[in-house]
Amino acid sequence: MTRDVAGIGLGLRYDLATELLERTPKNIAWLEIHPENYIDRGGRYQEMLDLAREDWPVITHGLSSCLGALEPFDASYLKELGTFLRDLEIPWHSEHLCLGGVDDRFFHDLLPLPFTEEAAAIASQRLIEMRDAIGVPLALENASYYAPQGPDGLAEADFVVEVLEKADAKLLLDVNNIYVNGRNFDFDPKLYIDKIPMERVVQIHVAGHFVRDDGLRIDTHGEPVPDDVYELLDYTLRKTGPVPVLLERDNNVPPLDELLSEIDELWTIYRNATGVGDAR
């Protein structure tokens, strides 16, 4: 049995949790968590998750099983993850299309894959393996990147589509990542969106990012969502229809009321673009 996830959600983060769980704002329709922060963990995190589930559907977004690694999956971890996810009654789980570690060492950050046929084949095979192991639907998320790709690879959108189609997978479409990549590497984010098979999109992420003095944009999730990202979200939702949208805010977390204003803005865009949508 899964719980319905629709409308605008927010990432459940430690810095926000006390006020969020006390006020349970009605304009937040669901919450997203990173399972790595909760698996086999008691104390405040266990309490946060238990309280959150009383008021919201919860879905999950992984950080550590990135789909581009070369080493075999840790089977015991996938078993533990699968049990955790099924207990949460989630409709799908998501992971990043990136490199999260090498030789069983973890970067704890999302490093870019080369956009090559070889990397697409490896990532799609891993996605299938992981999906089978955890026993719940698995969506991949397009990642941000800051280093230029080699000359012999695919365009990023073509790379993402290649993995999606090889694995017959769902997509968590991060519009902020597309915007950041577009600005850093001088492509039109809307042309990227146009290449995505919209029937595969099950969820959208939006966030703010940091602009360095040299102009490089870093996907920090530590700033308000900029107007250009709101506009790209509107453009995307008009194509996807009413898929759930998550506001990611992981760093430099402001007072909850500031985030609720951003959530309201997202609802306005969501309703205008899709013609549907009520908060809880």
């Binding site: 008691g42 104390g43 070369l70 060492r105 973890f106 970067f107 950050d109 070889e118 800051y146």
Partner: protein
């Protein structure tokens, strides 16, 4: 090849100095150094939060030297960010034992234990009430620390610690904080026996009392009852379970 690309990224992020050959292979020196900073900054942050007092005590430069040396061994083997400070501590404490004031290793051990207590696994659910003829069930987040220096106390500014052997039980309280409680040697051994969980309370009390050459008389029973009541009240002891068949 993806394998070459991945290994070059790994060396750039965790090597003591990124090689020009790796940066050239990856294609953009400046941008891959951005990644090196992002990866290391995130790990440095969580390590610095977990070991804040140790870092302050030995100074940022000495602390960072140990962290950088640990990075150069290949980086974290854990997928859980919360366990990264424990991996660093396992590497760095033996170094600090050799190079820093004698109480620094105790301080780092105390801090990392408190960190692990805060973020430790959920508690088990006991099947029975606590009873002497049952095996005790303890909270998961409980550890016994035997220290040569009382590092759970804040030192005077700029001062260290004088030797003062101290045994602490560190446990997670109802507000999810790691709390130290002083123990005498017999109580510490009892708690260790209960954490092992393979004897009934009565069996472990008899064994530990005998090891300490202590008579189980009225005084002992009264102190034991007080200790058990305190452990139950603090959530260190949760209940009991049947002996194994």
């Amino acid at each position: 090849m993806l394998a070459d690309h991945a290994k070059a990224i790994h060396r750039v992020c965790f090597g003591s100095e990124p090689s020009e050959a790796d940066l050239e292979l990856l294609g953009s020196r400046e941008r891959w150094l951005v990644y090196r900073d992002l990866v290391r900054n995130r790990l440095n942050h969580v390590i610095g939060v977990a070991l804040a007092r140790t870092k302050n005590a030995i100074g940022e430069e000495v602390f960072q030297r140990a962290v950088d040396e640990w990075f150069s061994t290949g980086g974290p083997t854990t997928r859980y960010l919360r366990y990264v400070p424990s991996e660093l501590a396992e590497f760095a404490i033996p170094i600090w034992q050799r190079t820093e004031a004698p109480w620094v290793a105790d301080l780092a051990g105390y801090e990392i234990t408190a960190w692990e207590i805060r973020y430790g696994p959920p508690n088990p659910t006991p099947s029975h009430e606590f009873a002497f003829d049952r095996r005790p069930v303890l909270a998961t987040a409980v550890k016994v620390l035997r220290l040569a220096y009382p590092v759970h106390n804040e030192p005077a500014p700029g001062a260290g610690y004088e030797p003062d052997p101290t045994i602490l039980c560190l446990y997670r309280d109802k507000n999810h904080k790691a709390i130290p409680r002083k123990l005498n040697p017999l109580a510490a051994d009892l708690l260790d026996a209960w954490r092992a969980g393979d004897q009934t309370v009565a069996e472990s009390v008899q064994q530990v009392a005998a090891a300490h050459k202590t008579q189980i008389g009225p005084d002992f029973i009264e102190k034991l009852s007080t200790l058990i009541a305190d452990f139950l009240n603090r959530g260190i002891l949760l209940g009991g379970q049947d002996p194994p068949p």
